[in-house]
């Protein structure tokens, strides 16, 4: 299991809406946001590749999202 801290940047003002759509995802836990264009989240995925794929998918599928930046990556052998 890979647990990562990520910063997600969105178009101005879109962060709350993105947060709402991300909040439904079971492996994303939102931990904060600036209310406008930045979100902080903890993401858990099976592997580093899955994490990258998730980030790429977000960038591709959700045009409100401008960037996904990992700030911390941890591996849980479980």
């Amino acid at each position: 299991m890979v647990i990562a801290g990520v910063l997600i940047t969105t178009k101005p003002g879109q962060a709350p809406f993105v947060a709402a759509s991300l909040g439904a995802s079971p492996h994303v836990q939102l931990v904060g946001g600036d209310g406008s264009e930045r979100l902080a989240a903890v993401v858990s995925r099976e592997s580093g590749e899955a994490l990258e794929a998730w980030a790429e998918e977000l960038l591709r599928d959700d045009e409100r999202i401008l960037g996904v930046y990992p700030t911390f990556v941890g591996h849980d052998p479980e």
């Binding site: 801290g5 940047t9 930045r38 930046y69 911390f72 849980d76």
Partner: protein
């Protein structure tokens, strides 16, 4: 346990993400009165494009040029460039030594003194009593003016430059193997290479932006292999799939052994060899592939491993990766190969690997020498400002070349002396011997950067030697020895062309007026020319005047960049020569049909090495030879020097920047833990390193980056001169000194 670990990870991830939330930087807002001037980084030979931000006549920031090869990235040195312009050590007015002290003088006073001293020396002792020592950091135009003034005006071939200390062996390697200097590949090859052979280069620290490109290639194409051959486990080696650590100075054996494996395991491209390669030994190219095979028999991986102190299977693996069919292999090297008494040979051996496998001239396959200075290639190598060269591939020893240059420069036949002058170290030996009476040093710091520098510092201090230093910073370890210090305009304060490692020429535009009384170097040189009665040779008013003359000089040579008009350089974000016409896009890969304008369209093969008369490159048989001074009982450890990412060269610029000094304050002796234990020292203690030439005390850093029995010191610290210890032995062909290997003893201090 797993739960608490999970909790720990989640809380750590959350803390980290929340810290990041505080905000990403916004792009610099363009306020009124701001302008961004296109330029190039002042530091290493990568030549990163950047924009200089100017507000109220002052440089306040730089930002990367997204349209240049660096795609907007800069390393931290480049980013912090604005600080050097306002450094307290900027040299702002001319100075003359009076009663042993440098005191402020007027330009008139200083220049008339310089001119009278030069005149006197020339009249009394002949033109060879004066010399010019230039730099791979001077602008192309400046170096060209100096070269012309001294060789055609004063009529001395005492013109050399610091590229002799860094690039001469690469030049020798390219010239002997391919007939002409400069790499055939380009940076873009990095994006296509499947195998990187990095030998004797700490790319991560010395060429960060190129290293970054390698890293990105590796990320994009996960099968990419990186082989690093370096005695130290450098930051570069940390991304390596295979790191071969070997005894310094044994690289020739390893490279030959790699060729042995390539030949004996069937990685050879017979077709390529048949069409493009000849074999040679010594200076003759009369050998065959069979002779080469016989020569390689001495270099089985086992034998080479025994010589080099590495693992034979690593050599085999490296060769197999390098030779794998269908894979593109790119080799890169810097001072680890060049700064050796067999530097040219080592360069030849790297080229051999590419030639016997045919891995050359296709995207991603090329031998590629990395340069250390921003204009070593463009100004000094291409411009021919070395003691044996004339501009753009012409040789002093070649009568036809001399005649051609005399015509181009409009001087009478026979003006150019036929005998090559002394190379850098030999030049300073002539200073030491009192043969050179006046020395003009431009934009470089030999008082710190020469090997065995203690000896040559003494030479510069001779009473009967008149030393002129034109420099943007004072004091430096050279200007402190000068008789006259002339304030030169710094980067951003003048205009000119830089040519970096991949034959890329780019224009640095002037962003701000020179500080204080400083002047651009070409103006100072033209002034000197006029005062010596040679004004007709150097009549230039602007750098563009000089550039236009350079375009006429390069025309018809294989360097031909006649299409690079000033206007086009202003528009472009770097252009790669050959570029013979204004509508030519530039040449990414030399010698390749369809890309290089000098390969005829009807040439039957894909490559023509037109630098050589037969159009074939040479695979040279270069036997293993050790360094000049291997460790012995008295001086039992290897000593080597190199770079760190935070600083550059002699630190005259980077050490004025507080952030960089904070990140890396002083040169430390990196010792392997086993050696540290033997010496009974730990990080922070001091050791005295002594060679036959001199000694210096350094703080210790114990790190397994180092190899056992090897001590490494970075070369940027002006207070701890690593070069008091290095050896001034020269490569017989390139005359490049062997900075990289000597024997020392290390004692606790």
């Amino acid at each position: 346990m797993s739960i608490s670990r999970r909790e720990f990870l989640e809380s750590a991830a959350a803390a980290s993400a929340l810290a990041a939330l505080s905000g990403l930087p916004r792009p610099v807002q363009a306020a009124g009165g701001e302008k961004w001037v296109k330029s190039v980084c002042r530091y290493c030979g990568t030549g990163c494009g950047l924009y200089i931000g100017v507000r109220d006549g002052k440089v306040f920031a730089v930002k990367g040029d997204k349209d240049n090869h660096n795609q907007g990235f800069l390393c931290l040195k480049g980013f912090l460039l604005p600080q050097i312009l306002t450094a307290p050590t900027r040299c702002l007015y001319p100075m003359i030594r009076k009663d042993g002290k440098l005191v402020r003088a007027s330009w008139e006073e200083a220049m008339s003194l310089v001119a009278s001293k030069f005149k006197e020396a020339i009249e009394k002792y002949g033109p060879d009593a004066v010399a010019f020592y230039g730099s791979g950091q001077g602008l192309t135009e400046e170096t060209y003016v100096a070269n012309k003034l001294f060789k055609a005006g004063i009529r001395t071939n005492n013109v050399d430059g610091n590229p002799r200390l860094c690039m001469a062996s690469a030049v020798g390697g390219y010239v002997t193997t391919f007939g002409k200097d400069e790499p055939m590949g380009c940076y873009e090859d990095i994006d296509h290479a499947d195998v990187f052979l990095l030998v004797g280069t700490n790319t991560a620290e010395a060429h960060p932006i190129l290293f970054q490109r390698i890293v990105r290639r590796k990320e994009k194409a996960p099968g990419t292999k990186v082989i690093v051959m370096d005695p130290r486990r450098t930051p570069t080696a940390r991304i390596a799939d295979l790191h071969i650590s070997f005894k310094p100075g044994t690289d020739l054996a390893i490279l030959n052994a790699m060729a042995y494996v390539l030949v004996h395991e069937g990685y050879v491209d017979e077709e390529f060899i048949k069409n493009h390669v000849v074999f040679g030994e010594g200076t003759e190219t009369n050998k065959s592939f069979e002779d080469y095979k016989a020569f390689l028999a001495k270099y089985t991986p086992e034998k080479a491993a025994a010589i080099a102190g590495c693992k034979a299977e690593d050599i085999v693996t490296a060769a197999r990766w390098f030779g794998a069919r269908g894979k593109a292999s790119m080799s890169m090297w810097t001072m680890g190969l060049n700064q050796r008494t067999e530097g040219v040979w080592a360069n030849n051996l790297v080229h051999n690997l590419h030639l016997i496998t045919g891995k050359i001239g296709t995207p991603g396959s090329t031998p590629f020498s990395l340069t250390g200075q921003p204009n070593a290639c463009g100004g000094v190598r291409d411009g021919g400002a070395l003691s044996h060269l004339l501009p753009y591939g012409r040789l002093i020893a070649n009568e036809a070349h001399r005649k051609e240059m005399e015509k181009l420069w409009g001087v009478p036949e026979g003006t150019l002396k036929p005998k090559p002058g002394p190379s850098t170290v030999e030049m300073f030996q002539k200073v030491e011997a009192g043969e050179i009476k006046c020395l003009y040093i431009m934009c470089t710091n030999p008082g710190q950067s020469l090997p065995n520098v203690g000896r040559y510092r003494k030479a510069l201090q001779r009473d009967d030697v008149f030393v002129v230093v034109a420099e943007a910073f004072h004091p430096t370890r050279t200007s402190e020895l000068a008789d006259v210090v002339l304030p030169a305009a710094a980067w951003a304060e003048k205009e000119g062309v830089y040519g970096c490692a991949e034959r890329r020429y780019q224009l640095l535009e002037q962003a701000i007026p020179p500080s204080g009384e400083a002047r651009p170097d070409f103006e100072i040189l033209c002034d000197l020319g006029r005062r010596l009665g040679l004004g007709h040779l150097v009549p230039y008013k602007t750098p563009t005047d000089i550039w236009n003359e350079i375009l006429t000089v390069c025309k018809g040579t294989v360097y031909d960049f006649t299409g690079m008009t000033r206007e086009r350089l202003r528009q472009a974000h770097g252009l790669l020569w050959p570029l013979p016409t204004p509508d030519h896009p530039g040449t990414n890969r030399r010698y390749v049909k369809g890309e290089d304008p000098f390969v005829p369209a009807d040439w039957p093969h894909r490559i023509k090495f037109y630098g050589r008369p037969d159009g074939r490159a040479v695979v040279w048989m270069r036997p293993f030879k050790g360094p000049e001074e291997a460790p012995d009982a008295e001086y039992p450890m290897y000593y080597t020097t190199g770079r760190v990412i935070e600083h550059w060269h002699t630190g005259t610029m980077t050490r004025t920047c507080k952030e960089l000094v904070h990140a890396n304050a002083e040169a430390v002796a990196e010792l392997h833990p086993a050696d540290a234990q033997k010496l009974g020292v730990k990080t922070g203690d001091k050791v005295k390193i002594t060679s036959r030439r001199g000694s210096q005390v350094f703080k210790v850093k114990v790190t397994d980056t180092s190899r056992e029995n090897l001590v490494f010191v970075h070369m940027h610290d002006d207070q701890h001169l690593c070069n008091l210890i290095t050896i001034d032995a020269l490569d017989p062909i390139s005359k490049q000194p062997e900075f990289k290997v000597c024997g020392v003893k290390v004692e606790k201090a």
